[in-house]
């Protein structure tokens, strides 16, 4: 399996422009404003779903652009997906166990 070593990156160098970073940052700030504003509205059971939904969108932006996942090998994205799915399964199974206790 090809592993990228420190001195010999297997993938070409990607330089992300300052402008795209700034754009992502603006998006993140806007989403923060949205989540604070949404918390002021009584959405009932949708409160937690809205909050987690916005947090997930922010995370995708950070992962894709700030953490360069968009430009990485597919193997990194597959690894991350496996880790996140595992975590999701833990949480879902716990709630099943909890609900039928």
């Amino acid at each position: 399996m090809a592993v990228n070593t420190e001195d010999h990156p297997a993938h070409p160098q990607h330089t992300v422009s300052y402008a795209s970073y700034l754009l992502i940052w603006l998006g993140l700030i806007a989403l923060t404003a949205m989540t604070v504003a949404a918390a002021g509205i009584d959405l009932g059971r949708w409160v937690i779903i809205t909050a987690l939904g916005i947090a997930s969108i922010k995370t995708v932006l950070v992962l894709a652009v700030f953490m360069h996942l968009k430009f990485e090998d597919r193997v990194f994205r597959v690894f991350l997906a496996v880790a996140l799915v595992t975590l999701a399964i833990f949480i879902i199974l716990t709630f099943f166990d909890y609900a039928f206790h």
């Binding site: 160098q13 700034l22 950070v62 949480i91 709630f95």
Partner: protein, 187 residues
């Protein structure tokens, strides 16, 4: 590669805590809501903006280094470290205020409350405390990088150390992205 594997272990560490949080919030929705009103949303929002901005500056420092602009890169890493300190100072005053009003683990004031509120503040201290510890480690990692860039061992042709440090820093940011609405925004 190694850094990503390490970040997965971090995901499991914090994931376990988020799981504990989810179960208790499910069990004590009212108490969590009541306890959360004692957190200052303004400070939480300010710290969110500080961390997001610090992620921006550290990401830009890599671009600057790749372009061979060493001074700019160092300035951006320094800004990141300063923002991290800003975050910690806010956290210090926030915790200090909680202690001043008698809300800290096992305080008589806290133990007199319902178990849901005790659990909320327990999770609050453990999760934001562990996160703050990560911020401190991140500051150390970024400071090392600053020295490496200054000495020239990290440069346009070899910037993996800075990239790795930045990855860790972004993870700290991502964890806060979830901590913020879960603790500050449940009114």
């Amino acid at each position: 590669m190694g850094m990503w594997l390490f970040l997965f272990t971090e995901l499991i560490l914090f994931g376990g805590m988020f799981l504990a949080y989810a179960v208790y919030r499910f069990k004590y929705p009212g108490e969590f809501q009541l306890a959360a009103t004692e957190l200052d949303t303004f400070v939480g929002t300010l710290n969110t903006i500080i961390l997001l901005t610090s992620s921006l500056t550290v990401a830009m420092s890599i671009t600057a280094l790749q372009e061979g602009r060493k001074a700019l890169s160092m300035l951006l890493v320094t800004l990141t470290i300063l923002l991290a300190f800003g975050f910690l100072v806010n956290k210090y005053f926030e915790w200090g205020h909680k202690f001043a009003v008698g809300i800290y683990p096992r305080s008589p004031e806290l133990l007199a409350r319902t178990s849901g509120e005790v659990l909320y503040f327990g999770l609050y201290y453990v999760m934001t405390g562990l996160h703050a510890l990560h911020v401190i480690i991140g500051v150390a990692v970024l400071t090392f990088n600053l020295v490496f860039i200054a000495r020239g061992s990290v440069h346009a042709g070899a910037f993996v150390k800075l990239e790795t440090g930045a990855l860790y820093w972004h993870l700290v940011d991502v964890i806060w992205i979830f901590l913020f609405p879960l603790f500050y925004l449940i009114h």
